[in-house]
Structures are given as structure tokens and as C-alpha cells.
């Protein structure tokens, strides 16, 4: 009976079930052993401290009347006044609406394109053709927005190739590069041209991971191409689709900074101002630091809440989401 009172000797085991011997190595000995590893992380830690953690704490300026030429500690606290100024500004609300419209358009028009492209590439049976198509489709992702916008200007701008051909055919010319009413469509087409090919990588990997025997079994049971697609292919890539949708939702308030700043002048602020450009023009350019930081703070908090909420929703629908339930 007394044996029960004694605690088991080794409580921790490795994954093969072998007992692990608990070692208590003194701190100084571990430091002497692991200090090269600590030196190795130092550059990364310093960079993150300086350019992520310090600015994160700089967000307190949202609650201050920030004066650029005196130390931060001497700027007076003003509570929520920056937020009140912001919410009373109609151009801010215009920026919110524009941002949400662009996000929605990207979700509806951009998001399905990489999936469709991946299905097309996956169905190509000649290896050399697959490699050629993949290489060409990935390429635009590595161009800068300045060049992509330049390409669109050369092709669709007022002096571009398409309009030149239209003029020669005595047709009326198109003004898509400077038309505020179709600006959001233009942004989305540019995004599709640049990144839809790149977006196929992850779907192609998911498609390649689907077990061929599933297709075989379905074919033996007499299902046609369409029903194989519907009952094998789609369920196979659904987790990835859900994962990417969640990640996209977390970015809902960030809709392509450089792309929009480069073309804002052509269509005017009314059509092109989004939250990020609002922060730049009102905060950095006009010097309304506190108000600009307030926008950044709202953006960060909303994005964080959206991603947690979308992940929760994914779990309730029985999907894995970004991180799994434990």
C-alpha cells in the first residue's frame, strides 16, 4: 500500500514512450552553452524592437495633442479628442466607404481568379507547358507597382496602344485610366494582372495533394468529370480557400497603398482616398499627427478583431482556420 504514496520516478516521456531523464542544468551553464544562439537572434530582436515595438507604443500619441518639436512626454493628453475630430470629418467616412468598396470588389472579382487559374494549370498534362505557363504567370508579382501602373498606362492610357488603334479605326477612345467611376474596377484588374498568377501557387499545391485514388474510385463508380470536380476536387481545396479568405478578411482595411497613391491624382481624392492614403495625406503631409495615428490604431484593432472573428466562424463551420482548436 505504501508504494502508492511514492510519486512515479519519470513522468515525462518522449514520443516513443521512452522515459526522459529530467536534467536540471544551472542557468549559467545553459548560458555558456547557448550564448551563440542568443547572439544570433540579437540583430532580429534589435530591428523588431526599434521598428515594430517602439512604434507600437508610439500609438499612444492618438490620445495626445502631439507637438513635433518638443519631446513626446511634454505633449498634453487630450483623451478621445482626436477620434472626435476624425469621426466628424466627412472625408474620413468617404475613405472608409472607398476602402470597403475596394475590399468587396477584390473579394468578389479577384479572389476566385487564382482558383480558376490553378484548376486550368492543373489540368495541363504536358510538363513543359505547365512550367512555361507557371513561370510567365508568376512574373508580374515581382514587378513594382510603378511599373505595373506604367504598363497599364502604355496599354490603356489616353496615348496608349488601345486608344491608338481605336483612333485609327475612327472609334471613340476610352478613358479608363482617369475615370473616377470605374477607378475601383481598374484597381482590381491591375491586382488581377499582377498577383492572380502568384496566388495559384498555394492552390496548385493543394490540388497536387489530393489523393489520386479518390478520383479513380469516383471514376469506377461511374461519376463524370463534373461530378468528380464537385465531389473530389472542390472538397480537396476547401480548407485552403477558407484559410485564405480568413487571412484576406484580416487585411480588409488595407487595399494596396502604392497602387492607389500612384493613381490618386488622375481620378481625384473623392474616388481614390482610402484609409491608408488618408493617413498619409492628413497625417504625414498635412501634419495632423494625432488624427493620423488614430486612424492607424482603428485600422489595427479592426483588422485584429476581424481575423479572430473570421477564424471563430471557420471553426463553427467545421473548418480548421488559421490556427487549430486545441
Amino acid at each position: 500500500m505504501s508504494a502508492k504514496l511514492v510519486a512515479p520516478a519519470a513522468t515525462r516521456t518522449d514520443r516513443h514512450g521512452r522515459a526522459l531523464v529530467e536534467r536540471r542544468v544551472p542557468f549559467l551553464a545553459r548560458l555558456r552553452q547557448d550564448y551563440p544562439l542568443l547572439i544570433m537572434v540579437t540583430p532580429a530582436v534589435v530591428l523588431l524592437l526599434l521598428f515594430v515595438y517602439v512604434p507600437l507604443f508610439g500609438n499612444v500619441i492618438a490620445f495626445m495633442d502631439y507637438q513635433p518639436y518638443v519631446p513626446i512626454t511634454q505633449s498634453p493628453w487630450i483623451g478621445l479628442q482626436n477620434f472626435q475630430t476624425l469621426f466628424a470629418d466627412p472625408t474620413f467616412w468617404r475613405a472608409v466607404v472607398n476602402t470597403l468598396e475596394i475590399t468587396l470588389m477584390q473579394l468578389v472579382l479577384f479572389f476566385p481568379v487564382p482558383i480558376a487559374l490553378a484548376l486550368l494549370i492543373h489540368s495541363l498534362v504536358w510538363p513543359w507547358l505547365r512550367i512555361l505557363v507557371q513561370s510567365v504567370l508568376y512574373l508580374p508579382h515581382f514587378l513594382s507597382w510603378v511599373i505595373v501602373v506604367g504598363f497599364f498606362q502604355e496599354s490603356l492610357g489616353s496615348g496608349g496602344v488601345v486608344n491608338h488603334m481605336l483612333r485609327q479605326a475612327n472609334e471613340s477612345t476610352i478613358t479608363v485610366m482617369s475615370d473616377p467611376s470605374t477607378f475601383k474596377l481598374l484597381l482590381t484588374s491591375q491586382l488581377i494582372w499582377k498577383d492572380a498568377g502568384w496566388g495559384t501557387i498555394i492552390f496548385l499545391a493543394a490540388l497536387a495533394a489530393i489523393d489520386d485514388s479518390l478520383y479513380e474510385a469516383a471514376a469506377i463508380d461511374g461519376s463524370g468529370a463534373w461530378s468528380r470536380f464537385w465531389h473530389v476536387t472542390l472538397p480537396g481545396i476547401r480548407p485552403i480557400i477558407v484559410l485564405l479568405l480568413i487571412l484576406r478578411l484580416g487585411e480588409a482595411l488595407s487595399v494596396g497603398f502604392e497602387q492607389i497613391i500612384l493613381q490618386r491624382n488622375a481620378v481625384g481624392a473623392h474616388a481614390a482616398e482610402v484609409l491608408d492614403t488618408y493617413v498619409y495625406y492628413h497625417g504625414v503631409v498635412d501634419g495632423n499627427w494625432g488624427v493620423g495615428i488614430a486612424v492607424g490604431l482603428i485600422k489595427g484593432v479592426v483588422g485584429f478583431v476581424l481575423i479572430l472573428g473570421a477564424n471563430k466562424a471557420a471553426h463553427m463551420l467545421g473548418e480548421q482556420g488559421v490556427y487549430s482548436r486545441s
Binding site: 545553459r30 547557448d34 551563440p36 544562439l37 542568443l38 544570433m40 537572434v41 540583430p43 532580429a44 530582436v45 530591428l47 523588431l48 521598428f51 515594430v52 515595438y53 517602439v54 512604434p55 507600437l56 508610439g58 500609438n59 500619441i61 487559374l117 486550368l120 489540368s123 498534362v125 504536358w126 507547358l129 505557363v133 513561370s135 508568376y138 515581382f142 514587378l143 513594382s144 507597382w145 510603378v146 511599373i147 506604367g150 504598363f151 502604355e154 496599354s155 496602344v161 491608338h164 494582372w193 501557387i201 498555394i202 496548385l204 489520386d212 478520383y215 471514376a219 485552403i240 497613391i261 500612384l262 493617413v279 498619409y280 499627427w289 486612424v295 492607424g296 489595427g300 488559421v322 490556427y323
Partner: protein, 296 residues
């Protein structure tokens, strides 16, 4: 003809489907390659040809490199190219070094402070600092109008760390242990064993960082206000997108209108390094992106 991998169960596709697929593939390739062709053709054409064709040449009738010699013979474009190349080289060296070192150190479970340090690094994934707080920090450090502002704030990417670390976690522990047994220190293990094994993933991450520095437009717009210090993307924006005239040379006061061929030559030069590096890294892309991105 290379081997066709069509599984037996799939059956033979209908000719209509094959034709549609062929058209779709050709259309996609043309959609992406056509702008490259126009820009290249225009950059090597004579001004007369360009004017005659209405501003753009689709297929070059002449081959003339004077546009390139004009922008490469000194002046603001040459300067911007040199500056951007240096920022890209130094920045990529700093970024890749700090990422690889941190990835290796953080991929060793059980080492001192490994867990808290990993949390410290990964938390920055969730919380991104706003634009203005970051700008104020850079300004406080005295980096405005300094090229280091183009490097340091964006030097370390947690995404790339996750990619490299994910790859390194897959290196067999026995390999490391046996090297240690033979008396190798942490640095020698990293240099002699881990780096040679991780070449593919490091190549991909290097491409990501280098492309980021080479293409950076917004950071330059934000931090470099002095027009004599412009980088290539700022020059591109001003001379190509906005069509401003090109001033050649610092002391030279004559203003040349930026001819179409010159503008397109600047675009070609901005594309060239990416197009040159791309084929070497392209075959590693899928593997490199996926090891980190789809871990869960």
C-alpha cells in the same frame, strides 16, 4: 515530346475542351507578355519610328540603343540606378543574414530563452505598427533623407523568418548532434551543415528581400524628400507615369523632354535585374513559399 501524365480514369478530353483550353492559355500568356514586348520594342526604336507608329512600337523596325546610352551616361537616372543597386545589395545582405541567424537560433527547441524569443518575434505578425508612429521613430533616429531609412525599417520580415525556420526545423537532429559530438560549435554547425542544406529556401528568401528593396516606392516617397537623392522607383514615377521632362546632368541646365524611347528604357532597366535573377530562383519558388506558408 515529353511524357503525358494523363491518368487512365480521366478519359480522353473532347476536342472542344482542348481547343478552349489552348485559347485560354495563349490569351493568358499574351496578356502578360504583351506589355513587356511594347516597352522593349519602344525602348530600342528610333524616335521617327515611334512618332510614325503613334507613340508605341509593337515590333521594332530598327534597333537603336541610344536611349540606353543617354540615361546611363550620368545624370539623375544613372545616379538613381547606382543608389538603388547599393541599397538593394546592402539591404539584402543585412536582411538575409539577420533572418537566417534568427531562424536557426529559434528553430532549436529547448535552448535558453527560445520560447519567449519566438513569441516576441511572432507577436509582431499580429500587431503591425501604424505608418505615422513608424515614421516618427525613423525621424527621431535622424534617418529622414538618409538611405538607411530605405533599409533598416523593412530589414526584417517575420514572414521570411517563418519560411526559413520551417525549413530548418526539418533538418535531422542527428546530423546536428553528430557534428556537435565531433566538436563543432554552434557557428560551425550553422555554416557547414545548415546553410548548405538550406540553399533553396535561402535563395527564395533572398529574391523576396532583393525584389522588395529594388521595388520599394512608398518607403522612398516617405523618407527621401531630397530630389537629388531619388531612387529608381521615384524616378520612374516622375518621368514615366507623370511624364515630366528629364534633366541630364547636375550642372546641365538644358531640359530634354523625356522621349518615349528614353522613358521605356528606364522601365526596361528597372525590370532587368528581376528578369535576370528570376530564372535561377523560379524552380525553388513553390517549395520555398509553401514550406513556411502552409504549415497548419
Amino acid at each position: 515530346m515529353s511524357t503525358i501524365r494523363r491518368p487512365v480514369w480521366a478519359g480522353k478530353p473532347k476536342p472542344v475542351v482542348l481547343a478552349l483550353k489552348g485559347v485560354a492559355v495563349l490569351f493568358l500568356l499574351a496578356l502578360i507578355l504583351f506589355p513587356f514586348l511594347i516597352v522593349f520594342s519602344t525602348s530600342v526604336s528610333d524616335n521617327d519610328d515611334i512618332t510614325a507608329a503613334g507613340g508605341y512600337v509593337v515590333w521594332p523596325k530598327s534597333f537603336n540603343l541610344s536611349a540606353y546610352s543617354q540615361i546611363l551616361s550620368g545624370g539623375i537616372v544613372t545616379r538613381a540606378i547606382v543608389v538603388t543597386a547599393l541599397v538593394t545589395l546592402i539591404g539584402t545582405a543585412i536582411s538575409v543574414t539577420s533572418t537566417v541567424l534568427a531562424a536557426w537560433a529559434l528553430s532549436r527547441p529547448g535552448s535558453l530563452f527560445q520560447r519567449p524569443l519566438l513569441t516576441f518575434v511572432l507577436v509582431t505578425f499580429l500587431f503591425t505598427p501604424g505608418l505615422i508612429p513608424l515614421y516618427l521613430v525613423v525621424k527621431q533616429l535622424g534617418l529622414v533623407n538618409n538611405y538607411w531609412a530605405l533599409i533598416l525599417p523593412s530589414a526584417f520580415s517575420v514572414f521570411n523568418l517563418v519560411v526559413v525556420r520551417g525549413f530548418m526545423m526539418g533538418i535531422p537532429k542527428e546530423l546536428i548532434d553528430s557534428a556537435k559530438m565531433d566538436g563543432a560549435g554552434e557557428w560551425r554547425v550553422l555554416w557547414r551543415i545548415v546553410l548548405p542544406l538550406s540553399r533553396a529556401v535561402i535563395a527564395v528568401v533572398t529574391l523576396f528581400y532583393a525584389v522588395g528593396y529594388w521595388n520599394a516606392f512608398f518607403n522612398a516617397l516617405l523618407y527621401i524628400n531630397d530630389s537629388t537623392k531619388w531612387t529608381l522607383q521615384l524616378v520612374l514615377r516622375t518621368y514615366v507615369l507623370q511624364g515630366s521632362s528629364l534633366v541630364s546632368g547636375v550642372g546641365d541646365t538644358t531640359i530634354h523632354p523625356a522621349a518615349q524611347s528614353v522613358q521605356m528604357a528606364v522601365v526596361m532597366i528597372a525590370i532587368a535585374p528581376i528578369a535576370l535573377a528570376y530564372p535561377f530562383v523560379q524552380r525553388h519558388l513553390t517549395k520555398g513559399v509553401l514550406t513556411g506558408a502552409v504549415k497548419g
